[in-house]
């Protein structure tokens, strides 16, 4: 195409909605900006995409180098393209969301921010740019995807009890789920049945722990939980 070099290109960035689960609450990691625009306001972690990096590489670099987070579940969410979404000029944002177990990491505010903090999804502050919209899309995706894909395990320890999983689902879906019916649905799910996931007792913990094999994630299941 002859026009290949005649266009000026929009800038390209990634923004990430990093979910963590602690104390039976779902939280999101936010940075307090130390530069204009939106200085001292809260934003999603993000950064520009370099010519030689893929989106995932960009995400991984930002999270690992600046926040110390590695080996995360990452999934592309949507690309946000409104022409006025960044006051500095035209910036496309490719949004990703990530699920992490906060117990496994120490979050460190790098040079890019005054502060880094977990905010419960029900107590979010005002967000800079169009990040409120990105956050809303991420919550919606998480809520719908967890019904047919075992996302929840990313947020828990490798070993967890059925009731921990149950509470996680109630928290994410923001609804009550009958404990006994939930348990049966999980145990009937293909990814448990087909792969022989183990249940075992572990010292000093309750006797019904699941041992979760990360390889099981690929198997689909469907919970069909009714929203209240």
């Amino acid at each position: 195409m002859s026009a290949f070099h005649t266009y000026k290109n929009p800038s390209l960035a990634v923004d990430m909605v990093v979910f963590g689960y602690q104390d039976n609450k779902l939280s999101v990691l936010l940075l307090n900006r130390n530069e204009e625009p939106f200085k001292n306001e809260w934003t999603l972690p993000g950064g520009f995409v370099r010519m030689e990096d893929t989106f995932e590489e960009t995400c991984t670099n930002i999270l690992s180098k600046k926040l110390g987070l590695t080996k995360l579940y990452l999934e592309q969410l949507y690309s946000f393209d409104e022409t006025d979404r960044d006051p500095r000029g035209r910036v496309i944002s490719v949004a990703y969301y990530s699920l992490i177990n906060p117990a496994k990491f120490k979050i460190v505010a790098g040079s890019m921010a005054n502060d880094v903090k977990w905010f419960e999804v029900k107590k979010m502050p005002k967000l800079a740019f169009d990040h409120k919209k990105i956050f809303a899309a991420a919550i919606k995706r998480l809520q719908s995807k967890i019904l047919y894909f075992p996302l929840g395990f990313e947020l828990l320890d490798d070993l967890f009890t059925m009731s921990e999983l149950h509470q996680l689902y109630e928290c994410i879906l923001d609804t009550e789920i009958d404990r006994r019916n939930f348990s049966r649905k999980i145990l009937d799910a293909d990814f448990i049945i087909n792969t022989g996931i183990k249940r075992e007792g572990v010292k000093n913990r309750q006797p019904d722990l699941f041992k979760f094999n990360k390889k099981l994630k690929q198997n689909n299941f469907h919970l069909n939980i009714q929203q209240q």
Copy 2:
């Protein structure tokens, strides 16, 4: 962010999977390129995003100016970012898919292509770039979304019979669906019940035509059709 102007930005393009339904077959619109790279090979329609245009504006411009298609259903699919996906250099592709009723338009090959043709999804030629991957993602999205959102109507005339709709679903999902159970599910769907969609006889056509009001699209429903 001080780095705002120090990055060289990847080029940004949109590519579109335009679905049409004719003769009880689902087809996709492809262009035959008249320039290198991939000269004389088939590709999805697409083009570069200008600084002042959103993705949807870019899509609309390409489809209307070059192919004569207007007022289309458009939905963002995914953004493809592999660094080597375009031999000319780094090009991000934001993929959209579109549903049109081919009977309403005359497709014209503009200056950008040798030829424009509908290809049945089961008889696709080799595609240039990574467009095979984009096409596969679009089919998958269409198949899953049609189960809970009334997408199918975009592909039919404003008036259509129940059996036309039934055949469309069988075709898209590539499975057999019991005619009588399907009919009941459609009639029980919220978007029919809540809005009082009309059924009426029309001269010279079968007496069970639906009159489809475009405003109804917003209402969700769930068909829960079993894949064979």
